[in-house]
Structures are given as structure tokens and as C-alpha cells.
């Protein structure tokens, strides 16, 4: 990771899904200070409601969510044609290999563990956006 923050401000919109208000605030601050637009949801159901109205460029989600966990949410999102290729980054406190495997099986593109480092989070989101753009799907 290069950690070259604030050198290439983005205009992408990131949906942050986390039931912890403090984590949402920290992630939002990290992304906003780099120029990303951020919308947030506190639950899996809330995220689906947001996705019905808005199309983010990247989705960043926790695993432990109320009502619908991150793996389930990811599968539901991937079934929707509009979001089958949208980059999904999982940000979770579960760092076991089996958890990561479950995440990738559900359709996530990158798996980060908490606590997060701001530079790593930003670089990962940027990498996913770049890969998405390069794939020609965007």
C-alpha cells in the first residue's frame, strides 16, 4: 500500500454499512477527507433500502449486522443485475481464514479486518474502483 492520501481526490460514492455508529463515523471521515461521497446504512435491510434509491460505486460493509448479516447481504446484492459487478469491500472484526473464505464465497471483492488503518482502507477502495473501471463494466 502506498498510503498516498489526498493526492488524487475521488468523486465516487461509497455506501458504508455498519451497525456501529462509531465505526461508521470513522470510516465516513476517512473517506470524506479523501474526497469520496459517503452514504451510510446501519443494517442489512437499511442498506437494501438505500440501494433501491441510490447506486453507489463501492459498497463497504461489516459482517455482523442486525437483521441480515454481511454474507447474506452480499448474496442478495449480487443477485441484483444492477449490482452484480459493483465492488464490495468487507470490513470485519472476524479475521479467521474461514470468515474471509465465506466472504469471498458470498461475492465480496476485498476483505479488510478491524481495526482498520485509514491509508489501507482508502487504498483498497481506490484499487477496487480502478479494477472495476478497467473491467469495462462501469
Amino acid at each position: 500500500m502506498t498510503g498516498t492520501l489526498r493526492q488524487t481526490p475521488e468523486t465516487a460514492t461509497v455506501l458504508v454499512v455498519d451497525d456501529s455508529a462509531s465505526v461508521r463515523k470513522l470510516v465516513e471521515l476517512t473517506l470524506r477527507r479523501e474526497g469520496f461521497a459517503v452514504i451510510s446504512a446501519t443494517s442489512g435491510i437499511g442498506a437494501l433500502a438505500t440501494l433501491a434509491d441510490t447506486q453507489p460505486d463501492v459498497i463497504l460493509m461489516d459482517v455482523m449486522l442486525l437483521e441480515l448479516d454481511g454474507f447474506q447481504l452480499c448474496r442478495v446484492i449480487r443477485r441484483h443485475p444492477k449490482y452484480e459487478n459493483t465492488p464490495i469491500v468487507m470490513l470485519s472484526g472476524r479475521e479467521g481464514e474461514s470468515d474471509k473464505a465465506a466472504g469471498f464465497a458470498a461475492g465480496v471483492d476485498a476483505y479488510l479486518t478491524k481495526p482498520f488503518k485509514p491509508a489501507v482502507l482508502v487504498d483498497t477502495v481506490r484499487e477496487q474502483l480502478t479494477a472495476y473501471a478497467a473491467s469495462g463494466v462501469a
Binding site: D19, A21, S22
Partner: protein, 399 residues
């Protein structure tokens, strides 16, 4: 008119408050670490341009007026006085003690400049026994002279008013009836009809020596360096609070050793908060927390709690309640340490500072919520310590 021979006693409009300024709505109310207070004041003056700050702490209240981004007046309005305004400002950060509680008040263009004269001896002080014509004459003279400054009128009782002028034009008035600044001189006009009033004329004045104190209070971190330093602190704070969130979640899942894990979690975050000072700043000294457990493990030389020694003591005691008490005290120490960092961040990025502050408040509420819950479990005799809801859920429910 009779010239008063009374010795100068500041702007004696109100004996209990030598300097009385207009009272607009405050635009800031917060605590500021003494070590950064001059730098903070400079940032406020640059942002607000004209206004004043009231700084209180350790039994002393200091008033600092800034006009056109420069310090234009300073005075101790409560507590032990100092020899000069420069000293009042210069000693703000030098004195030992807790954070200062600060409120700031914005003022309109030229108002602060007109008020600056109130911080010095009046140029004229007269007793008017026929206030109507005499006051009018004094004001007419000021208008003719294109006077800028303040004219204070005080009646024998408690009634008083201050008229502010810029280049011979009245730009505002406030008084004992209403301390808010108004563009008319109605507040003063009632005094014109009394039998006797005292009038004092305070020309506006620049105070280069005072402005220099604010400019030179701390030369560390001028624009480029400061921004890089603050940015590093901001990123460090995000990582620190993210780590605290993970530690709290883990402590909650830890089973019987949860109180110990919680104390360790907070202690680690406290140590990290103090380490964040290494980016172009002097060492951040932790505030003392008046808790016997922390006092007994206070490292006076380093100016901080010696967490390693504290944790060793707790491990020897191996008492669950002691771990909880330590966690509770360390939460306060952590809060103070982080707030010092946030004060630093707020110098250049108030919105980031606010977001971090909100995250901090939520995380500490989670930590305190865990302590309350575990104590309640202990008191109710729930030996098995049943599984608790997630810390996140606690925060969402507002507990």
C-alpha cells in the same frame, strides 16, 4: 464639567467586572488544553477575524479581544490579576492546571477595534452635572475628530451604556438594560436626562506587543508543517479509535476475564493517544486524573499514568472489581488525552475534530456501559455473567 482625579481602575463601568463587552450569541463553548491555547486562539482569531474569547480555569478568567485577526486587548476579569495585558495573555498556557473552558463571541466589522480602547486608561474622564448638553457636546467633538473608539457613560447607580464609534460615526451601543449590541444609541439616551453622569472616552488602539504574543506564542507548526502534522494526528486518531472499538468488542467476548481485558484495552489506547505527539510537536503531557489508583501510578517525570506498573499491580491483586475501577479511571484519562489531540486537530479542521469527538464519545459510552452492566450482574449475583449484547448494539440503544 469636572475632571475626575480618580486613579485608573480599568473601565470602571462595573466594579465586579472591569471590562464589560457586548454579548452576542456565543459561537464556541469548549475546553482547550493549556498547552495549545495560544495556538488555538490564533486559529480562532484568523477564522472569526473580530470577536472575543472568555477563558476560564483554575479560578481565573481571562478576556481576550481580537480585531482584524490580531489580539487587541486582554485582561484578567476574575481571580488573581497580572501586571499587564501581555502578561495575561502570555501566562495563559504557562500556568499549571486543567484545561481551560472557553467561549468565543463573534463581533461585527470594526466593533472589536472600537472596543479595544476599553482595555486601557481612558483619554478623557469627566463628571457631567448637566448631562444632556454636555454629553451631546462630547459626542459632537468625537464626530468632528473622526473619532474611533468607545464612549462610556455611567450614572450614579448601576445604569451604564457604551457607545462605539468608527471614524466619527456611531456604529453601535449597548448598556446595562441590554448587553446586546444595537445600532442605535437608545440605551444611552435615557442617561442624558439624569442629574449626573460620568463619561469616559477610550480611543481605539492597536496593541502590537499583544498581537506579537499571540503570533509568537508557539512558533511550532506554521501553516505547511502544521497541516502535515495535524493530518498525521487526524489519521492517527482514526486508527486509534478504530483500534479502541475492536478492543472493546473483543473485551466483551472474552468470558470471565472481561474486566481485565477492558482495562487493558483502555490502557493500550491511552498509551497510543500519548504517542501521537511525535509528529512535530512537543510531548503531550497527560492531565492528572484525581483517582487514587491512577495517582498511585502517576509518573511525574513523564507527566502521565504509568500503565505498565498499574497493570502489574492489578495482576497481583487479581480482583475483578479493581480491574473495573482501573478501567473506569483510565477511561477518564483516555478521554482527556484524546481531547487534547482533538483540540490540535480542530485548529485546522473543525469538522474532522467534531466527527472524531462524536466517535470518541460513543466508544467511551460503550466502555462505561460495559462496566455498568458487569457491576449490575455482579450485584444481582449472576455468577455466570450471561452473554451481553454487542457493544455496538449498546451504543445504538443509547445505553
Amino acid at each position: 464639567m469636572a475632571e475626575l482625579a480618580a486613579a485608573y481602575a480599568g473601565n470602571a463601568l462595573c466594579s465586579r467586572a472591569p471590562i464589560t463587552l457586548p454579548e452576542p450569541m456565543a459561537n464556541r463553548a469548549q475546553s482547550v488544553a493549556r498547552s495549545v491555547v495560544l495556538r488555538w486562539l490564533r486559529g480562532v482569531a484568523e477564522r472569526d477575524q473580530d470577536g472575543y474569547a472568555v477563558l476560564a480555569g483554575n479560578g481565573r478568567t481571562v478576556l481576550v479581544l481580537y480585531a482584524a485577526q490580531q489580539a487587541a486587548g486582554a485582561a484578567v476579569t476574575r481571580g488573581q490579576g497580572v501586571a499587564s495585558a501581555v502578561e495575561a495573555l502570555a501566562t495563559l498556557h504557562a500556568a499549571e492546571g486543567s484545561d481551560l473552558f472557553v467561549m468565543t463571541y463573534p463581533l461585527g466589522d470594526d466593533v472589536a477595534h472600537a472596543l479595544s480602547g476599553l482595555f486601557a486608561r481612558p483619554a478623557i474622564r469627566e463628571l457631567c452635572d448637566d448631562p444632556g448638553p454636555q454629553l451631546k457636546q462630547i459626542l459632537a467633538d468625537r464626530l468632528d475628530q473622526c473619532f474611533s473608539g468607545a464612549v462610556a457613560v455611567r450614572a450614579a447607580g448601576l445604569a451604564w451604556a457604551v457607545l462605539l464609534l468608527r471614524d466619527g460615526e456611531v456604529i453601535g451601543c449597548y448598556g446595562s438594560d441590554d448587553a446586546r449590541l444595537k445600532p442605535t444609541i437608545e440605551d444611552a439616551s435615557a442617561l442624558f436626562y439624569l442629574d449626573e453622569v460620568e463619561v469616559a472616552v477610550y480611543p481605539a488602539r492597536a496593541q502590537p506587543e499583544l498581537a506579537a504574543v499571540l503570533r509568537q506564542g508557539d512558533r511550532r507548526g506554521e501553516v505547511g508543517e502544521r497541516n502535515a502534522s495535524v493530518e498525521a494526528t487526524e489519521l492517527g486518531m482514526i486508527a486509534l479509535l478504530s483500534a479502541l472499538e475492536s478492543r472493546l468488542t473483543n473485551a466483551q467476548r472474552f468470558g470471565e476475564g472481561r474486566p481485565e481485558q477492558l482495562a487493558l484495552a483502555v490502557a493500550e489506547s491511552y498509551d497510543e493517544a500519548l504517542l501521537l505527539t511525535g509528529v512535530g510537536r512537543s510531548l503531550l503531557l497527560s492531565d492528572r486524573v484525581g483517582h487514587p489508583l491512577l495517582e498511585a501510578h502517576w509518573d511525574a517525570e513523564a507527566g502521565r499514568v504509568d500503565t505498565q506498573r498499574l497493570l502489574e499491580t492489578l495482576r497481583m491483586a487479581s480482583i475483578s472489581d479493581a480491574w473495573l475501577a482501573a478501567a473506569e479511571a483510565l477511561i477518564v484519562a483516555l478521554e482527556l488525552a484524546v481531547e487534547q489531540q482533538l483540540t490540535w486537530v480542530s485548529l485546522v479542521d473543525e469538522s474532522s475534530s467534531n466527527a472524531l469527538q462524536e466517535a470518541l464519545v460513543e466508544l467511551l459510552a460503550q466502555a462505561r456501559g460495559l462496566i455498568r452492566t458487569w457491576r449490575a450482574e455482579r450485584d444481582s449475583g449472576a455468577g455466570g455473567l450471561p452473554a451481553l449484547p454487542r457493544t455496538d448494539a449498546l451504543a445504538l440503544s443509547g445505553s
